[in-house]
Subunit: 263 residues, 3 copies
């Protein structure tokens, strides 16, 4: 796997329809990584933007009717033009509205990949999942089962992130063990990760599962290095160093530190 170099060489355009909390951080993260972010949600142009992009990311973090229509228009355009499409179902299950919107999106457009925590992914496929008691030790087996079930049901790549990350197309499953808990103290690190998955898919050709797995692992290694360099300082410094590492982390250093295995 060496999709990061392809990404940095190709500088793919990534169309993001995302929430108002993370637009800036997402754009800066994609730029640092080597991709070219394009945020656009006007109904008049989203289909055009999706069609010209290397991948499309839709994220339901802050919803409204205008944004849902934008997501459907962009998603259908992506489907029609063979452009990879990633959904981040932020808060699916937290309110009935979000669950309903997620079901509407997944019924009307075909995803290339879905990225969420286990509660979100479970809710997307109509499974109940309490967010209490989810940890890598006791819950890993169940997380893998949920991820595989979602991948089979939606016929797409499913990525469930947590203490360990699961990447699966229902047949082949990778477990990634990099990352750092301080990621949860910076808003939008999950949202940016979904956009990063889109950027890797843009250069994946027909190796989409492998590219998605590398996206998750690369992101985790960058976080580990940033957490190490800012240990004890706090989440402000971590956030900035993390953006740095997305830019300066080399393919070689990544390969040394990556902990990813087939399940």
């Amino acid at each position: 796997m060496s999709f990061i170099q392809k990404l940095r060489d190709a500088n793919p355009l990534i169309h993001n329809i995302t929430n108002i909390v993370v637009t800036n951080f997402t754009a800066n993260g994609l730029l640092a990584l080597g991709a070219s972010p394009f945020m656009a949600d006007a109904h008049e142009e989203v289909a055009d933007v999706a069609a010209m992009s290397g991948a499309v990311l839709i994220n339901i973090g802050t919803l409204n009717e205008h944004a849902i229509k934008s997501m459907l228009l962009a998603g259908k355009s992506a489907n029609a033009h063979g452009v990879p499409l990633v959904l981040d179902p932020v808060g699916a299950g937290a309110t009935s509205y979000r669950t309903e919107v997620t079901h509407r999106l997944t019924s009307e457009i075909k995803l290339t990949a879905l990225r969420g925590n286990v509660a979100e992914v479970a809710n997307v496929i109509g499974e109940k999942w309490s967010s209490k008691g989810v940890d890598a030790g006791s819950g890993e087996g169940d997380v893998v089962a949920i991820a595989r079930k979602a991948a089979a049901q939606l016929d797409c790549i499913v990525i469930v992130t947590g203490a360990e990350d699961v990447i699966t197309d229902s047949k082949t499953t990778y477990i990634a063990a990099n990352g750092h808990p301080i990621l949860t103290k910076v808003t939008g690190t999950g949202c940016l990760l979904s956009s990063v998955v889109a950027a890797f898919l843009a250069v994946a050709g027909d190796q989409k599962l492998e590219a998605a797995a590398e996206a998750i692992s690369f992101y985790g290694v960058a976080a580990e290095i940033a957490a190490g360099k800012t240990a004890g300082q706090g989440p402000g410094s971590f956030q900035i160093e993390f953006l740095n590492q997305l830019s300066v982390l080399t393919t070689e250093r990544y390969a040394e530190l990556s902990k990813i295995k087939e399940a």
Copy 2:
């Protein structure tokens, strides 16, 4: 007073309907502090989100009709479910539209706390206040009078921030003397403070005035330390170190540095 420890232990969910300039900074500030931010303004879900939250913050920094309806729906839900509600009347008095919206909000929903500068708070209760000539030396007495009048009129806690900060329920009044002028060189530091007040109110029980006073003082101490550590560097470095300090400032160190007294 030791609400910061309760906050960090409880990790309360804080529902923010705030302006588009400060969403990211607010979310990162609340995460650093130990709270769990939730930004949602869809009419379909705001009542649900408010009902499940520890506190609700509404901020009129960038208004439109959709947002006003969201604020009313969330505010009424907060009132109905006994959830503390904080209003930040950004720019009240700057345009007649903002003044009118503020009056509409305060007439239709019951606030737990109002946080603004003296011109904003004065405008909320229909007093004229020129923003010229407001300083801690000559104006302190008047600021306290305005704050108490607003607290009596709105029957809520009123916090007027400036060179010194006034926290009052009209009967008991605290003056907080921490903080640093560089806060005015970073956008959203007032907005984030209002969300921080909401986070402290979420764990206040029936000691809401004391919790609000600690919120103001804790924030000011964090700013002082951050300003000291980044002296001479500029507002970019201050902003990042301030997020760090919201996370790493201990209860003990806070208690040593806090300057707060009853008026």
Copy 3:
């Protein structure tokens, strides 16, 4: 030229109707510089805000019908009250929608200045321009010609930024040679620059071309210093140090490092 000192003394109010990606960075950049940002796009108040401001910035980075109406209302108010008005035509030419909106804006309101890259500026005046092959070496002559043509056609100052920056009113033309490539790795650096031009225009009196030229040069010098201080660290650290430099860069140091000449 010494508009930066006037700006820091006058602290002008700058009304920004800008895209959702860069609101926070724009506000922090203007605060660091010494201006006072005001973000407002409600139809009920934009004309009032524009009328009371030192300058108005409109940016089409994330469009929708509501925002377009806000821009027209604010722009017409600025025109009526003699308030300088800057347009940043983000992505003009990238989609037909953006090109159409740009033509609508420039036909209904009178600009004081237009700031974009060469492809955007060319599209605003209906010229075709491929973004491939644009560099300071081979393309400078053509860039100057496009900038002058746009300035003559729109009867305003035109600023085309790139490896070198062109500032012209069609008769007098300046070439500014400061800046650093890492600016392209931080989102919103072009957008903020347009707001910075607005801030300089707010204190320009009748020397608007000279003030615009100083804005571009000052910004470039701040970027160079920040890039030098964070060399090898990455775009996260650069972004923060750049905000610092907008605040701490002195008039004297700027004058030493500025590379600007009449063409």
